[in-house]
Symmetry: C2
Subunit: 171 residues, 2 copies
């Protein structure tokens, strides 16, 4: 019963398309990052967002300890970056991508679709995950809107407008 429900839930979540972000932080002179799709805006006034982070990931402790992070919303052509930060066992994930550091020491993808810099305002531990709420202190958007998407278990893109047809990205 539990397994069947879990399977059905997984299938349903494959239809919950979402943008793809890398959550990044620095702590103890090291950089940490992870591909995430469970990111959403919370309030507009003041600007806050949330990201769900599994407590077993290498990012979890540094993120909460540093108390600040960046949500790098990836551009349609940054699927390699998404894959690199979504896989386990890669020694230096940060060798991939155009990384810079802001004046508070937070690493960010300089050519991401958007970079949203946050301080950790609250963290709600819930079962295996933490719901981390970030208070936004800076937000940068680059170029026209054309984010990478994750849908049906693979990376793809949305239809940006009536002209700009795009080729789906291989799994």
């Amino acid at each position: 019963m539990g397994d069947a429900l879990e399977g059905d839930f997984r299938k349903a979540m494959r239809t919950l398309a979402s943008a793809v972000s890398i959550v990044s932080t620095a702590y103890d002179n090291r950089r940490f990052g992870m591909t995430a799709t469970a990111v959403c805006s919370l309030s507009m006034q003041p600007p806050t967002l949330l990201v769900c982070v599994n407590q077993s990931t290498s990012l979890h402790h540094p993120l909460l300890s540093a108390g600040r992070f960046c949500i790098n919303i990836l551009h349609a052509d940054q699927d390699e970056l998404a894959r690199t930060f979504g896989r386990k066992g890669i020694e230096d994930r940060f060798a991939c991508g155009n990384w810079k550091v802001d004046d508070r020491g937070v690493p960010f993808v300089a050519d991401a679709q958007a970079s949203v810099f946050c301080t950790v305002e609250e963290s709600y531990g819930h079962r295996t995950h933490s719901i981390v709420v970030g208070a936004v202190y800076r937000a940068v958007v680059r170029d026209s809107v054309h984010p990478l998407l994750y849908q049906d278990g693979r990376y793809t893109v949305g239809v940006a407008d009536g002209v700009d047809w795009v080729i789906p990205i291989g799994h």
Copy 2:
């Protein structure tokens, strides 16, 4: 400063493409529903998800009082439904759409892309919003994966596969 940051944050959030859902519940013999994009999966074992709900919406109190709800992940062709449940001042939103009721009295869109039925497991009040965590008790998926998306302030669709090109939906 605050206004500029809010504007930048809004622009950044326009790049955070997401699936479109209607959150629905019934309370005190009435149905309530609202279009939402701030929905994400939380844990897989057990299956939980979260939805961010503004405390000032008509849905907020019934949702927490009823203690159960459905996340109806909309199909690409259900943009009218999204608009109906996203606007204020519509007397009977439920006149739009193919609504049914499950055995616990929760209304759901019978032809949505997916329907995920939850009991409210926890609600974290954070500033203007509540982060409502649902424990999934049933999940149903219909047809192939082709959800409605919200990106750059309008409804659109993802590229389902290499063949099925789709026309963006007007604002």
